[in-house]
Amino acid sequence: MMGRNHFELFSLPVSFDVDIDSLSARYQDLQRSIHPDNFTSATDREKRLSMQQASIANEAYQSLKDPLKRAQYLLSLNGIDVKSESNTVMDTAFLMQQMELREALDDTMDATDPLAAVGIFSADVETRIKDLISQLQGHFNDNTKESLLQAESLSLQLQFLYRLREEAEDREEALL
């Protein structure tokens, strides 16, 4: 399994468009043959090997299943490390929007029905996430140097929205 990238591991083309059903089916086929449950009476070495390979398969599956992780992985295959946020210049318009969204989330706590307000807020964030994902798709399909830089900036925005969604869920949970 060494040397295979996550897409190759599941015999899938390197692309942002992934058919989740066939990804899942291939992942399950792979786990059926390498999962440690198949090696309970094997030698310790085979047990260990199976645990390592099953771990790799799990990691690969997780990174392709989720659009944000998939975008980050595709960028890393193109030599762009998105996890180091330090050297990225964020779009000023997006920074403004970030601040506004954060304030909007804070404001939901002062609403007459905070739970309903958080619900409306979350739905708005969800729409923005869907929109970003379809934009990402376009840029990855273009696959030029310029479009990949665009994809990088969009994936940072997506990461922000993911965090915001999580915070909204935390607040919702705290209200119950």
Partner: protein, 620 residues
């Protein structure tokens, strides 16, 4: 001659020998053992026809240990020496075990807390081992064969320390653990295979002392856990305790006596069960002064006492659905597991929460053991063509302490296992030659709010300027949910690793000592036991390599490679007859080395086989 068979694979594949395997549900209140008999999973009964073994152990001054209903009967008259609900103390430190009233005298030691009894101080692991040994005996006597291996169930929400403690108890009881299986997953296996259900299911498992909720997707024999959540200290016991405390208040007495506490708890449990079928129940308690208090508990009051506990279980339900990314509409069925789901109020509230009546038609007491037995049967190799696959998750996030007492998460909760993740850290002082690694489990940001799993130190880092060292910390969680942590300084290759021995766990040498002290093993000579262990291991390795050769030697090995492996097996066979534990151990290691390349090739072949049939062209 086994070796002749090796050199001529294909001609002599011996039919697979059926091995005896069992599933054990090691519960807070009751424990069960089940096995697959002629294709059907059944729970095994004791000589009195009971399949449930009360998880109660009584230590007597003649060193005699009594387990089960006889011990349960003695609980009210000998509360200090009769240990019940010991599962609550597994993997726990002294501060944890003193939180709830239980009437035991706990002794703080260097490792795990111990309970004082007339027969000496015992740890929770030893008490659990007595329960497991009892079930082992039941299975082996009932089936007249030695157990090849067992699957033991644990609450999905058990942390690393609790899992490790369970495995230690099994080792003490002389059991070969094939897998630790999460209770709701076991229930899903029993239920799913029985009904042939597909789609997303929720398993609501409220036992005597623990609560779990798991959201699973069932698809073509694959049980994929999407998320799990729970509370490892919430169950029927807490309902009993709430009633007991209320009764004491009504009677105007303090619970400062272990005998009284036990009488209150027993009466509370009886009342709880009685209220499943009636609107009120009469209560009778013998007080410390010998007088009797009489009262009554109405269903309304009962609901008022237990509603906060049920509500407490719904918070994890919400979190699990959120982590799984599913809504209540997407959940096809809610399966009720655990004795406490017999309480009608629990069913009512859970039904309201999921907006559908929960499924209660499977026996909530047996289903976990049945599921464990089914998996044990598959794992031991009795069903080579089985399509079943269980994909489980880590219940709690795993992380490492960083500057300022903060926790950096390395593996978030609900990650599919097995999983390996690495994170890079660096030194913060010039010339720093050591780094402390503190491993934590939990969801909170501060170290103090998480459970400390282990601490170890990476030493001999070559002196460098601050920030120049590159220390890679790798977390590996295996299929049992147990963690191993390795730290390596990348520039020098200095390495340190720990199999996480929980902060509240037993040391290996302690287990060794217990094994020696164990009454059952006292007769054996230690050396004889070591030899026997190595012989069993040698047979296992021999069989495993032999089977691998029969399967794949022709396809993957040339004559020379095969010769090397065959001669290492011959050496292993010779050593096996030789009666020296050390020599057998060495031969096992050599056989393992000789097959390293072969093992890697086999793994690669399975991967290729799994993916064959899928090509890139399918998408073009």
């Amino acid at each position: 001659m086994a070796l002749l068979q090796i050199s001529e694979p294909g001609e002599s594949t011996a039919p697979h020998q059926h091995r005896l395997a069992a599933g054990i549900d090691l519960g807070t209140t009751n424990s069960l053992v089940a096995t697959v008999k002629s294709g059907e999973a059944v729970t095994l009964e004791d000589e009195n026809g009971c399949y449930m073994l009360p998880s109660v152990v009584r230590y007597q001054d003649d060193k005699n240990v009594v387990v089960g209903s006889e011990a349960y009967q003695a609980a009210a008259t000998d509360p200090h020496n009769t240990i019940s609900s010991v599962k609550r103390f597994m993997g726990r430190g002294i501060l944890d075990v003193q939180r709830d009233p239980h009437g035991y005298e706990f002794i703080e030691t260097d490792s795990v807390p111990r309970i004082r009894t007339v027969a000496g101080d015992v740890s929770a692991v030893e008490v659990s081992a007595e329960i497991l040994a009892n079930l082992k005996r039941r299975a082996e006597q009932g089936l007249a064969d030695e157990l090849g291996g067992v699957v033991i169930t644990v609450p999905a929400y058990f942390d690393d320390a609790q899992r490790q403690a369970t495995k230690d108890a099994a080792r003490l009881a002389g059991l070969n653990v094939l897998r630790l299986l999460n209770e709701p997953t076991a229930a899903a296996v029993a239920y799913g295979l029985d009904t042939g259900s597909e789609g997303v299911h929720a398993i609501y498992d409220l036992g005597g002392g623990t609560f779990d909720i798991s959201i699973l997707r069932l698809n073509r024999g694959v049980f994929e856990v999407l998320a799990t959540a729970g509370d490892s200290a919430l169950g029927g016991d807490d309902m009993d305790r709430a009633i007991a405390i209320w009764m004491a208040e009504e009677a105007g007495v303090e619970i400062d006596d272990a005998y009284l506490l036990r009488r209150l708890m027993n009466e509370a449990r009886r009342a709880k069960e009685a209220l499943s079928g009636s609107d009120s129940t009469i209560l009778n308690i013998e007080l410390v002064d010998g007088s009797t208090w009489q009262g009554s508990l109405s269903i309304e009051k009962f609901h008022q006492l237990i509603d906060p506990l049920i509500k407490k279980s719904l918070i994890p339900c919400r979190r699990a659905m959120r982590d799984a990314g599913v809504s209540t509409e997407e959940i096809q069925e809610v399966v009720m597991v655990g004795g406490s789901t017999r309480v009608p109020r629990v069913r009512e509230k859970v039904g309201e929460f999921f907006s559908k009546p929960p499924l209660v038609d499977i026996d909530p007491d047996k289903v976990v053991a049945i599921g464990a037995a089914i998996q044990a049967d598959v794992l031991v190799g009795n069903k080579p063509d089985d399509e079943m696959l269980l994909l489980d998750v880590t219940p709690l996030s795993l992380g490492i302490e960083t500057m300022g007492g903060l926790v950096e998460k390395v593996i978030p909760r609900n990650t599919t296992i097995p999983v390996a993740r690495a994170q890079e850290f660096t030194t913060f002082k010039d010339g720093q030659t050591a780094m402390a690694v503190h491993v934590l489990q939990g969801e909170r940001e501060l170290v103090d709010d998480c459970r400390s799993l282990a601490r170890f130190e990476l030493r001999d880092i070559p002196p460098m300027v601050a920030g120049a060292a590159r220390i890679l910390v790798t977390f590996q969680v295996d299929a049992d949910g147990l963690l191993e942590v390795t730290a390596t300084e990348q520039t020098s290759g200095v390495e340190a690793s720990v199999q996480v021995k929980p902060s509240y766990g037993l040391e290996d040498n302690e287990i060794e000592r217990m094994l020696r002290d164990n009454v059952e093993h006292a007769k054996d000579d230690v050396e004889a036991r070591k030899l026997r262990e190595q012989q069993v291991e040698a047979d296992r390795v021999f069989e495993a390599i032999n089977a691998a050769l029969v399967e794949d030697a022709d396809a993957l090995l040339n004559d020379e490679e095969r010769e090397i492996i065959v001669s290492s097996l011959q050496a292993l066979k010779n050593a096996r007859e030789n009666e020296s534990a050390a020599k057998i151990k060495l031969a096992i290691e050599l056989a393992d080395k000789a097959t390293a390349e072969f093992a890697a090739k086999r793994m690669d072949a399975s991967i290729n086989k799994a993916l064959s049939g899928h090509t890139l062209d399918e998408f073009k």
